[in-house]
Amino acid sequence: MIWQVDLIILLLIVVLAIAIVNTKNLFTATILFGGYSFLMCVLWTGMGAVDVAFTEAAVGAGVSTAVFVAAIYQTTRRSKD
């Protein structure tokens, strides 16, 4: 893989991981996690591990995001700010 593209994707992954940990809104964290999974999928495709990338795209970005949204649907806000 071209090292400039690799560097940009790795930097974006680090930025997204820090943003997921630091955000207060659960729904924002879930959507950012989907983006994180997709960038990991791109990275693995660049390394040549297409099967792992396929699994990451199907499970990480697809089903797990939907399951997280279903879990957030059951939560309530403690404060009304």
């Binding site: 699994t55 199907a58 939907a66 879990a71 649907y73 059951q74």
Partner: protein
């Protein structure tokens, strides 16, 4: 998500998109032993299509169609297919899950028998993964909310 969405764009797009997603999932399962993909990924894609239907078309119809009996049937059917293929190989004189023993039952050579056996296993894995993913999503949506 619980109630039906009346947005006409969402409804029509879902109706046409679900068919293509399911076709792609079946393609991934059927070509899993020759190219990237397989039972697990295909099952996840099939489950994603049903999750899309639940989120837009409401969960009530799905709960009626996908009742307790079908849930337990599909959950155990894939495991049964997997284990049954292994035991058939065992009965035909080969090791457990050694598909070359299937060549005694069907008129094919052992390499072709391995090919067919892997395909049968992939179908079983796909059915179970699809059903388990769908069960997790439905149970998460319909669990009683704790009153605090």
């Amino acid at each position: 998500m619980i109630e039906k969405n009346e947005n006409i764009i969402l409804k029509n797009i879902t109706q046409y998109l679900v068919a293509f997603i399911q076709l792609f999932g079946l393609y991934v399962i059927a070509h899993g032993h020759g190219s990237p993909g397989g039972g697990f990924q295909g099952g996840c894609i099939l489950a994603a299509s049903y999750i899309l239907m639940i989120t837009t078309l409401g969960i009530e119809d799905t709960k009626k169609k996908y009742n307790e009996f079908k849930k337990h049937l599909f959950n155990s059917l894939g495991v049964f297919i997997y284990a049954f293929t292994g035991f058939v190989c065992l009965l035909l004189g080969a090791n457990y899950l050694d598909y070359s023993g299937l060549s005694n039952l069907f008129p094919v050579d052992p390499i072709k028998a391995r090919y067919i056996g892997t395909f049968v296993i992939e179908v079983g894995v796909g059915i179970t993964v699809m059903s388990i993913m769908l069960t997790i999503f439905v149970e998460l949506l319909t669990v009683k909310r704790k009153q605090s």
